[in-house]
């Protein structure tokens, strides 16, 4: 049974996310793959020769756009600001002054972010799936159902893992957005390609191992990324990283001080 205060923070955070400017921008990013699929349909309808079918397009959009860009960028902006916005806005004393364990405040906020972003990503993937695979006929929709479910599960895991990472950075760093960009789009994208053990220190490597589909243009990429570990190992790594970042976040928030006095010179 989830405690009332935790539910309240969950609801308040989710509402804040969906009603914010960031929320609207996230909404726009969600429908971009739909626009790409619709464009492909339009080109085919106009008789233009396109070098890919619906399955390929779907594969590219999920692999490159959703897991490679949308999930990291959305979790970066929402995750790093979960607590940082409360600090910036001076509202943290209201939360920390309540009879509620601070770890629960942190976890409730992360959970709300994960649910909202995963729901948004699922919506994006489902729409893309329907618009893309229907290009190859109704039968393709049924045949790709397994891939779709795998993609949905992996995306949810990606949101949880990246969300935990960036929420932790939001607590640990003075400029979390900067460090988040460095880690999310620098380290993740560079190191995931390196041979040896180092790539296991990225989330992207393990996520690519888990993604079920392997369309032709990404086959080499997926082979490079995923051939060296099993899905069970990838899952264990991702869950481990998520737990680690959440645990570290809990430790930091437990020790954190919240005072508006320092900023206002009282």
């Amino acid at each position: 049974m989830i405690e009332g205060p935790v539910r309240a923070i969950f609801g308040f955070t989710a509402r804040g996310m969906t009603c914010s400017v960031k929320g609207w921008l996230f909404g726009l990013l969600l429908v971009l793959p739909w626009a790409a699929a619709l464009l492909l349909r339009l080109l085919i309808w106009k008789g233009v020769q396109v070098p890919m079918g619906g399955v390929t397009l779907y594969g590219i959009l999920v692999l490159a756009y959703v897991t490679g860009f949308l999930v990291p960028i959305a979790t970066l902006f929402f995750g790093t600001s979960l607590v940082a916005d409360e600090v910036e806005g001076g509202t943290l004393p209201y939360l920390f002054g309540r009879p509620l364990r601070r770890e629960k405040i942190f976890l409730a906020k992360v959970a709300a972010m994960t649910v909202v972003l995963a729901a948004g990503c699922w919506l994006s993937i489902l729409g893309t799936y329907l618009l893309s695979l229907s290009l190859d006929g109704a039968g393709a929709l049924g045949r790709g159902a397994g891939t779709l479910l795998g993609d949905l599960a992996t995306t949810a895991l990606a949101v949880a893992a990246y969300g935990a990472l960036f929420a932790f950075l939001g607590l640990a760093m003075k400029k979390p957005l900067f460090w988040g960009l460095i880690i999310g789009f620098g380290w993740e994208n560079l190191v995931a390609w390196l041979p040896g053990f180092l790539k296991r220190l990225t989330l992207l490597f393990h996520l690519h191992t888990l993604l079920p589909h392997s369309a032709a243009p990404q086959g080499v990429v997926q082979q490079m990324l995923a051939s060296s570990e099993s899905r069970i190992t990838a899952l264990a790594f991702l869950l481990g990283y998520t737990a680690l970042f959440l645990g570290l976040g809990c430790v930091l928030i437990r020790r954190m001080e919240a005072s508006a006095a320092e900023r206002e010179g009282g």
Binding site: L95, P99, R102, E257
Partner: protein, 304 residues
């Protein structure tokens, strides 16, 4: 009871508060100090938001910092004007009520009650961003009160309020004190605190300068003479007697011949001698008024 024992807080090399010990008992206590004296730091320490660099802060024996058990009994109204702007005042108060463990229905009910307590009225239904500064102050006070805690820490709660709102807030704070709550109110406005209570804590440069009832605090400043205004029918004869007393440092006449002001070094001795004098002679004493027995004088003496 909330107890602060030898607490210091440093921000690097800067001292926020320095070895402060105090306890807040039922009733209203005023925390006085100029801007930067350390009032907000002390209240943040007492509210469990800051960890003391040394010393302890506890409520009924439970340490305050990040301790839900202790925070159950505490309501804190911060000084800065920060809010979740896109909710109504009532939603804001109810949300924080829920974080204090109230059910959704209880939180709504208590939020309405708390907003009524601070005379927020219909304004409580407005979005916080659309509220005036005074109304926002009342919302902050209401959120501190929503879970009916026995201890209230109010950091400059009257800032930005217009005179009628100020009077309502002062009345509410006095009422909470009379109801048995331990209320600690900070302010740098002496007359505000004086209107709420005569029990004060004086903070200056992070140190607790004095504590107690205003007259007691005044009495403690033994080295400084107190100005006493006297008006009587035979002021010249009274002055002649006063000037011979060891407890009187000086006597000066006012513009009208019947009034004089005297500097007294020992108020107790002065009262005894004056009583004896009045019994012996018919001097026609009309007014005896210690001029320095107010907060303003105490404060300026102490920080001078």
């Amino acid at each position: 009871m909330i107890r602060v024992q030898s607490v210091s807080k440093w921000y690097g090399l800067v001292v926020g508060v320095n070895r402060i010990s105090l306890s807040v008992e039922p009733g209203v206590t005023g925390l006085l100090g100029v801007n930067g004296a350390g009032k907000s730091t002390l209240l943040n320490l007492m509210a469990g938001l800051l960890r003391p660099s040394s010393g302890t802060v506890d409520l009924d024996g439970k340490p305050m910092f990040a301790n839900p058990e202790a925070l159950k009994s505490l309501g804190y109204c911060p000084s800065p004007d920060h809010f979740y702007e896109d909710v109504t005042g009532l939603e804001f108060v109810a949300y924080l009520g829920r974080l204090s463990g109230l059910s959704p229905a209880q939180a709504r009910e208590r939020a309405v009650e708390a907003c009524r307590e601070v005379a927020l009225g219909e304004e409580a239904g407005k979005k916080v961003r659309a509220m005036s500064k005074g109304m926002r102050q009342k919302v902050k006070m209401a959120q501190a009160l929503v879970h009916d805690p026995p201890v209230l820490l109010l950091d400059e709660p009257l800032n930005g309020m217009d005179p009628p709102s100020r009077a309502q807030a002062i009345e509410a704070i006095r009422r909470w004190g009379q109801q048995g709550k331990s209320v600690l109110v900070s302010s740098h406005m002496l007359h505000e605190v004086e209107a709420m209570t005569s029990r004060i804590l004086l903070l200056h440069h992070g140190k607790l300068l004095a504590s107690g009832e205003v007259p007691q605090v005044r009495q403690a400043i033994a080295s400084r003479p107190m100005n006493v205004f006297v008006r009587c029918a035979d002021a010249r004869n009274l002055a002649a007697a006063l000037i011979t007393w060891p407890c009187v440092q000086s006597v000066s006449f006012g513009t009208e011949g019947k009034a004089l002001t005297t500097e007294v070094t020992d108020m107790g001795d002065f009262r005894v001698r004056l009583g004896d004098l009045m019994a012996d002679r018919e001097l026609g004493l009309e007014i005896l008024n210690p001029l320095d027995d107010n907060l303003s004088a105490v404060f300026s003496y102490l920080v001078a």
